[in-house]
């Protein structure tokens, strides 16, 4: 899955560590999501969408 988490995080000037703290996960998990190495669960994806004020489908798109 492709995602825009890194771009949206950068817009808010948050570090990976800051976003991780807001999400209640480790910085490595945020990095793995951003680099597409890990697709988050639905609850974590919803939390990301809420924090980044985007709809889930705006943040995550299926790989074509």
């Amino acid at each position: 899955m492709k995602n825009r988490v890194r771009d949206e995080r950068a817009k808010r000037d948050w570090s990976q560590a800051e976003l991780a703290e807001r999400l209640g996960v480790s910085r490595q998990t945020v990095n793995a999501v951003e680099t597409g190495k890990y697709d988050p669960s639905l609850p974590l994806a919803f939390k990301l969408a809420e924090l980044l004020e985007r709809k889930i489908e705006e943040l995550f798109t299926p790989e074509e």
């Binding site: 996960v25 480790s26 490595q28 998990t29 793995a32």
Partner: protein, 134 residues
């Protein structure tokens, strides 16, 4: 008990490391004291309870690990599951193979080495699994 290579930034991971080190140190010290006692008094009626004393810090180690796993996030749990699966399946494979070879004349493998093997493979498995998500 090995430290979990996957979870360096888990909330409370420093506390986890401190607690697991305390458990390992407690196990090592009580084991050395128990072995010293056994060598000095090999026929003592206390030899069984004395040899069980190191189990107390080992139980504490189990509690610490389980609490830490419950505090992990979803990716860390996945990494940990992969690490544990790696350790479990390889330990089964090695011990079964060794068991077969024992019948052919290989020396008997003391059971304490099975736990040591599993813990070592657990650390390697966690490291390998964590590497895939970096």
């Amino acid at each position: 008990m090995s430290e979990l290579a996957c979870c360096e930034s888990t909330p409370g991971s420093r506390e986890y490391k401190r607690r697991i080190r305390t458990a390992i140190a407690g196990y090592t010290v009580t084991l050395l004291l128990a072995i010293t006692f056994l060598r000095a008094f090999p026929a003592s009626p206390w030899r069984f309870p004395v040899m069980l004393v190191p189990v107390i810090p080992a139980i504490w180690g189990v509690v610490v690990v389980l609490r830490f796993v419950r505090a992990m996030d979803e990716l860390q749990r996945r990494v940990h599951l992969e690490g544990v699966s790696f350790a479990f399946t390889l330990t089964v494979l090695v011990t079964l193979t060794w068991g077969l070879l024992e019948r052919a004349g290989l020396p008997h493998l003391p059971s304490v080495w099975v736990a040591t093997l599993m813990i070592a493979l657990w650390g390697i498995g966690n490291y390998l699994a964590a590497r895939r998500y970096r």
